[in-house]
């Protein structure tokens, strides 16, 4: 009879607790973001606002009262607006911060300390003067000699030690010794300034402390005198000594001529004057409150071209100057030009580009370089479009052509380059054309010049034509002894004028083309290249937290399991804290963000992608090493050479193109070709990593995709083989190839010595190892919780229709669970029947089987099945998973059912036997049915557990739900949403399963209660 215990409320309570825990975890992540003040933190070595004395023109400089530096300052820059005097450094700092002054003087000690403590201050890079610090004595006081001698007897090291202690930031070191010597030679009064830290100031309890005091105490010990300190204002110290009220005065006096005249000094440390100014981030007070700005001084803004790959140019509008033959050149690289728009001049095109009417235009490097450097809104497209020759044009068949060519050669490349540098440089004073003061015996030549192609050929302020080409022409004219008569005109008119004979020669930064050569005589004077000009966009580049390998002392570095970089990293810095291994890049990224590691190693491709996507990460500036990415083959496999040959036959530009596509951000371009060639040479199995974007990862439908795959497909086409991809974890790839389950392995595998010893490779792209570290600071605008949730949701489910992959994973999970559950239960019953036979041999076998299953973890069992038992066979992973779970569940079901069976009262068997039942029949009809109430609940619980255990099937490449979610996680680079989703889905599934079984139970119970007798009612 089935027992209904009231467990429902307990289950509900537990579910509630789980949800509460989840919600609290989510909130805990976000709460710090709400409460953490958003500070602007600059790094050490803040950049000063003014950099040279010249910058101080019209500014206010301050110094301590009594400090004789006005002269010095004025000497450096007479145009300083005014000098102000303050009584303490603290006052001066405040005045600086509130903009009352622009700079103030301090000695090097004080300056170091202030800058260390206050990041809004910076040291002016030029110093005023170098001198010494000195203790003051009344002029002519013989005590001074004694003190000087005493000071000289002190070791330099001790003085340095004291200097470091008192100028540094470690307060615990700033302790003065007790005056525990005898003091037999009397007590000396010292007047000390109480407000010039770190040299001389009042400590916590009002006692005088500082470097000066420390040094004086050392001296006093030598002299065996006691010191009696009196603190006072800086300005009073010297007066105190002069009047005799004190014998020694200290206050970080910096010695100069004036002071030396007034008093005698014992010098005790080098000194220099520096000025302190504000740090570059600008005014300080207002902006230290919370505000949302991306004001990291470590973040630089650079301009980069808007488009960086050829594929991005498809479907765009290009500008052409009327009559220019560049369409062909453009079309040689860009397959799909939307349209061409024609302009009359290059500057017009530049304007149109910036206004967005066109997306790019092609021109020569001379024009392009100048335009781009002068206009921040323009940038050069990184891929070159080819070389060109610049030439002057003459009418076809002009007899003068040859002479002009000679003249050009006579002028010479060097001279032309010189002119080039002048006219394309920034020093306008050099851009002077020579007067045509030669004879011109050979006549006048009419020249048509482009009037709007700076810096090559343009109309200057004075109305004359100027420019690089003009200069060259004049040189050539000199050689030919002709005079030139220039007429400036529009580009489009130039050639017409030439062809109609209105002019003899024309210049307009003309490029040599076949078509033109047919129509004109060309005198080329310089080589250059085509440049595609595009819009520039700003990009903030994050500076990394660590900038050199030395910074990594004691830090934890991570890398993928199976990656052989530990040696390399330790080579660079043997003192790193430790190395950790992770399964996926996404895991490492998360660990880095949460501070569990300090850096991780990855390849350049991934690094570029990551630092683009996540501004919290930055690329460590030093690279670990350069090598190649390689496709892995089993050692000695002759296939490798075939593939190498295939790779070599590929067009490198195609590879570059693929690289740009796959490393770019435009996902619509990332499409693999269908394998529509014949595949006559067979099918090759490829083991691909499914979690290393952008090189090799699982796409929408779970199929491997990425740069690697694209290249492999190209090679397959050449070899006429078909490729059969299997996605798995990085650490499994080489095992797959070695065991022969796959012939090729890929996964942005970097070729290292160690790996080359194990496998053969076909290198297919340069690679370098880089470290990814956290960005030095994060001042990001925090999105609202709702926003970030929405963004997470989109990334997890909507983008790339990822929900499909998750759904497929879910389906697989359910299939495995149901199949294994049903088959496993049947297997369990079968084993129970077998066990009932009580044959000694089978009993033992069953016992061994059962203990194996209970003694070995599920994951290991699955892997043993997949790699060893079914290793050679071509069984699909799903099948192996189902078999594996069936075997596991079967053992458990057997155990449960057999326990239940033995718990049935023995009298039942006896009654059955006595009635004439055989043992077998008695078991089946009497014992087994009765045991149901004993095994049913445990079996139900086991089924639910099975559902959850399927989550490890991912280890044998099954794309079930946990793995699907994990892949999404590696694509979205966030952990939170995908994992919570997975947890929720499992929860719902198990709840459903439990509900289903319970409903079945209740139905059976009801039927039982009806007491209907089969065959009678």
């Amino acid at each position: 009879m089935i027992n209904h215990t009231k467990t429902i409320s307990a289950e509900r309570f537990l579910a509630f607790l789980l949800c509460a825990a989840v919600i609290i975890a989510m909130l805990a992540q976000l709460i710090p973001a709400f409460f953490m003040p958003i500070k602007a933190e600059a790094t050490e070595g803040a950049v000063p606002e003014f950099k040279t004395f010249a910058d101080l023109t019209g500014k206010t400089v301050a110094m301590l009262t009594g400090a004789p530096f006005e002269e010095l300052v004025l000497e450096k820059n007479p145009d300083v607006k005014e000098i102000q005097y303050f009584s303490t450094p603290t006052d001066m700092i405040l005045a600086l911060k509130t903009d009352k002054i622009d700079a103030f003087l301090a000695n090097n000690a004080a300056a170091s300390m202030m800058v260390n403590q206050d990041s809004t201050l910076a040291v002016f890079p030029e110093s005023l003067e170098d001198t010494d610090f000195g203790f003051a004595f009344k002029k002519g006081d013989p005590a001074r000699e004694k003190w000087q001698a005493a000071f000289d007897s002190l070791s330099r090291e001790r003085i340095d030690e004291l200097w470091d202690a008192w100028i540094g930031t470690d307060e615990s070191k700033k302790i003065l010794p007790e005056q525990d010597w005898s003091g037999a030679n009397g007590t000396v009064k010292v007047a000390a300034c109480d407000s010039v830290p770190p040299m001389c100031y009042a400590g916590n309890n009002g006692e005088l402390v500082g470097f000066d005091i420390a040094v004086m105490l050392e001296i006093a010990r030598v002299l065996d005198v006691h010191l009696d300190f009196t603190g006072m204002e800086f300005a009073s110290v010297m007066a105190e000594v002069e009047s005799g009220k004190a014998q020694v005065g200290s206050g970080s006096f910096v010695l100069n001529e004036e002071r030396r005249k007034l008093m005698d000094f014992v010098t005790y440390h080098e000194a220099s004057y520096v000025m302190l100014v504000r740090a570059e981030d600008g005014g300080i007070s207002a902006q230290q409150t919370a505000s949302v700005q991306q004001t990291a001084s470590v973040q630089k803004t650079v301009t980069v071209p808007e488009y960086t790959s050829l594929s991005e140019l498809n479907g765009r509008k290009f500008g052409l100057v009327n009559g220019s033959p560049f369409a062909e050149i453009i079309e040689s690289k860009v397959s799909d030009v939307d349209e061409y728009l024609y302009f009359s001049s290059i500057p017009d095109m530049a304007l149109a580009l910036k206004a967005g009417k066109i997306d790019a235009f092609l021109t020569g490097d001379t024009v392009a370089d100048t335009m781009i450097s002068e206009d921040a809104g323009l940038a050069a497209f990184p891929i070159p479009f080819g070389e060109l020759e610049y030439a002057f044009a003459l009418q076809k068949g002009n007899p003068m052509t040859k002479q002009w060519q000679n003249a050009c050669q006579k002028v010479g490349e060097e001279r032309i380059q010189e002119l080039y540098e002048i006219w394309l440089g920034t020093d306008d004073s050099k851009k002077i054309l020579p007067e045509q003061d030669w004879a011109g015996a050979n006549g006048t030549v009419r020249v048509a010049s482009g009037d709007n192609v700076p810096p090559v050929s343009y109309v200057a302020e004075n109305g004359r034509l100027e420019g690089f080409e003009i200069a060259v022409l004049l040189e050539m004219a000199k050689e030919l002894d002709v005079h030139l008569d220039f007429t400036g005109m529009e580009l489009s008119s130039l050639l017409t004028s030439l062809q109609t004979g209105k002019v003899d020669i024309s210049n307009s930064c003309l490029a040599v083309t076949e078509e033109r050569q047919k129509a004109l005589d060309l005198v080329s004077y310089r080589k250059g290249s085509y440049v595609l000009v595009v819009r520039a966009k700003e990009k903030t580049v994050t500076a990394p937290e660590f900038s050199s390998f030395a910074d990594l002392d004691g830090k934890t570095v991570a890398m993928l399991a199976g990656a052989p970089f530990e040696e390399m990293v330790r080579e660079k810095n043997p003192d790193i804290g430790g190395v950790q291994y992770f399964a996926t890049v996404a895991d490492m990224q998360l660990a880095l963000q949460t501070g569990k590691i300090d850096a991780f190693v990855t390849n350049n491709a991934v690094a570029a992608m990551l630092s683009n996507q996540d501004i919290g990460l930055a690329v460590f500036p030093e690279s670990l090493g350069d090598t190649y990415y390689g496709f892995a083959f089993k050692k000695g496999d002759p296939l490798r050479d075939e593939w190498q040959a295939a790779y070599d036959s590929l067009d490198q530009e195609r590879i570059s193109e693929l690289w740009d596509i796959w490393l770019g951000t435009d996902d619509s371009k990332k499409v693999l070709p269908a394998q529509d060639w014949s595949g006559a040479n067979g099918t090759i199995k490829v083991a691909s990593c499914d979690s290393l974007p952008p090189m090799s990862y699982a796409g929408e439908n779970g199929e491997p995709t990425g740069f690697d795959i694209a290249v492999l497909l190209e090679m397959a086409k050449v070899l006429d083989v078909h490729l059969d991809f299997t996605g798995l974890e990085f650490s499994g790839i080489m095992a797959e190839v070695e065991s022969g389950k796959a012939q090729v392995g890929n996964g942005s595998i970097m070729m290292t010595e160690e790996r080359k010893a194990l496998m053969d490779f076909v290198p297919y792209h340069e690679a370098s190892f880089v470290l990814i570290v956290r960005a030095a600071e994060q001042t990001v605008e925090q999105p609202t919780f709702a926003d970030s949730l929405k963004a997470s949701f989109e990334r997890t489910f909507i983008t790339d229709a990822r929900w499909k992959m998750i759904l497929l994973g879910l389906l697989r999970t359910v299939i495995i669970a149901i199949c294994a559950g049903v088959l496993g239960t049947l297997l369990g019953f079968g084993l129970v029947l077998l066990r009932h036979q009580n044959n000694a041999v089978t009993n033992k076998l069953i016992a061994v089987y059962s203990s194996l299953i209970t003694g070995i973890p599920v994951v290991v069992i699955l892997m043993v099945l997949y790699y060893i038992v079914f290793g050679k066979l071509d069984a699909p992973a799903m099948v192996v998973a189902i078999i594996g779970f069936t075997v596991i569940f079967g053992a458990r079901a057997y155990g449960l059912i057999w326990n239940a069976v033995t718990a049935v009262d023995t009298g039942q068997r006896e009654a059955a036997l006595a009635l004439g039942y055989s043992e077998k029949l008695a078991f089946r009809r009497v014992i087994l049915p009765q045991s149901r109430s004993l095994y049913f609940q445990p079996l139900k619980i086991q089924m639910v557990m099975l559902l959850k255990e399927t989550s490890v099937a991912g280890y044998i490449t099954v794309l079930e739900m946990t793995r699907a979610v994990d892949l999404v996680r590696s694509r979205t680079m966030e952990a939170f949403f995908p994992l919570i989703t997975a947890a929720a889905i499992y929860f719902v599934l198990t709840w459903l399963l439990t509900k289903l079984i319970s409903t079945a139970e209740q139905y059976l119970e009801k039927k039982h209660e009806q007491r209907k007798i089969k065959g009678v009612d």
């Binding site: 039942q908 036997l913 009635l915 004439g916 009765q930």
Partner: protein, 363 residues
């Protein structure tokens, strides 16, 4: 030919041998009650017959088939026998009707309808016609046992084995089961009933086996066994005789202790005051008059005094078993008074045993 023929049946366990050597022959239609003290192998004996226990040695022929032979198809033989257990052993997950139908359908291949009809018939027979659709746990103990009987009967066995059918029932329910068993008596079934219910055994049996000392100690008709049991153990069992023994020797003859123990014993028996007093008196006088003088006058004499009381019929006896003493113990005495009292309250009983004299104590 007899229905059940048992030869040389022996059953050994590692520490005890309940059946040493049993030989018996049972004819068809006989109703045998098997009685005896606990642990004497009664259930073992019964369970050997349908091979629920496997004998260590011997042969059991049931209707001509040797049950002990390993080659025998036990299911066939067992079909001819029905067994009723002390703990009923109904199938708890089935209704009563299904309990009775299942064996018919599974073993005899009878259709559900017919099996059901038979079930109803049997239930009527045992007086449970309304209980067909009940589950066993809904029945009382007596009803359960009757249902179990019905289940066994539905298979139309030739032999019915009852293993202490009423031992687990409380007294109020014993009679309903007993009456069912009685009603079966005339039906031609061969029945073996292991029971503690003497009335049942007396009323229904054709033969009674008293089992003791590893076998059938004494057998006979109910009148014989219950009326005039021949052998000592049988007597003791049947009459539920309780005894008190004390041994006196020539050197040690503590009468006080004997009487003290006897007093204790009498107190524990359900005796009337008069009976107890007579008992004490008889013992005392016997000792004074006859026993102690005899002991004193012999060198190495031993006399065991045994006082027995039958719970069954209240009969009290006192006997003296002696050795090392010459002559008749009770021939003469010097103590006239004691012997007079003694003779008054006792009556000598004949007893063949040597050196043993028995008296009934008169009440």
């Amino acid at each position: 030919m007899s229905m059940i023929e048992i030869k040389g049946l022996r059953k050994e366990y590692p520490d005890v041998v309940p059946l040493k050597d049993v030989n018996v022959s049972i004819d068809e239609g006989e109703i045998i009650s098997i009685i005896g003290p606990s642990g004497t192998g009664k259930s073992t004996y019964l369970r050997c017959i349908n091979r629920l226990e496997t004998p260590t040695a011997g042969s059991i022929l049931v209707d001509g088939v040797d049950v002990c032979n390993p080659k025998t198809d036990l299911t066939e033989v067992r079909r001819k026998m029905g067994m009723v257990f002390q703990s009923f052993n109904l199938f708890p997950h089935k209704t009563i009707a299904e309990n009775i139908m299942m064996p018919q359908m599974d073993i005899l291949g009878i259709s559900a309808k017919d099996a059901y009809a038979e079930a109803v018939r049997q239930l009527e027979r045992v007086g449970l016609d309304g209980k067909a659709r009940k589950f066993p746990h809904e029945l009382s103990g007596g009803q359960k046992q009757r249902a179990a009987i019905a289940r066994a009967l539905a298979m139309h066995p030739k032999i019915m084995l009852f293993d202490e059918p009423t031992s687990a029932l409380d007294p109020t329910m014993v009679s309903e089961v007993v009456s069912v068993i009685k009603s079966l008596a005339g039906s031609g079934l061969t029945m073996l009933i292991v029971t503690h219910e003497m009335r049942l055994a007396r009323d229904v049996s054709t033969r009674v086996f008293y089992m003791d000392e590893g076998g059938i100690y004494e057998e006979g008709t109910p009148e014989q066994i219950f009326g005039t049991p021949q052998r000592e153990a049988t007597r003791r069992f049947v009459f539920r005789i309780r005894s008190y023994e004390y041994t006196l020797t020539s050197s040690e003859h503590d009468l006080i202790e004997l009487l003290g123990g006897l007093d204790d014993f009498c107190g524990r028996q359900f005796m009337s005051r008069k009976a107890a007093r007579n008992c004490m008196l008889a013992a005392e006088e016997m000792c004074s008059a006859y026993l102690l003088p005899a002991l004193r006058s012999s060198e190495d004499g031993t006399i065991t005094v045994r006082v027995s009381v039958s719970e069954e019929n209240g009969e009290q006896t006192i006997e003296a078993e002696y050795s090392g003493i010459d002559g008749d113990l009770f021939e003469k005495t010097d103590d006239e008074i004691s012997s007079a009292i003694f003779k008054k309250i006792t009556q000598r009983l004949p007893d063949e045993r040597e050196h043993l004299v028995r008296f009934r104590i008169l009440v």
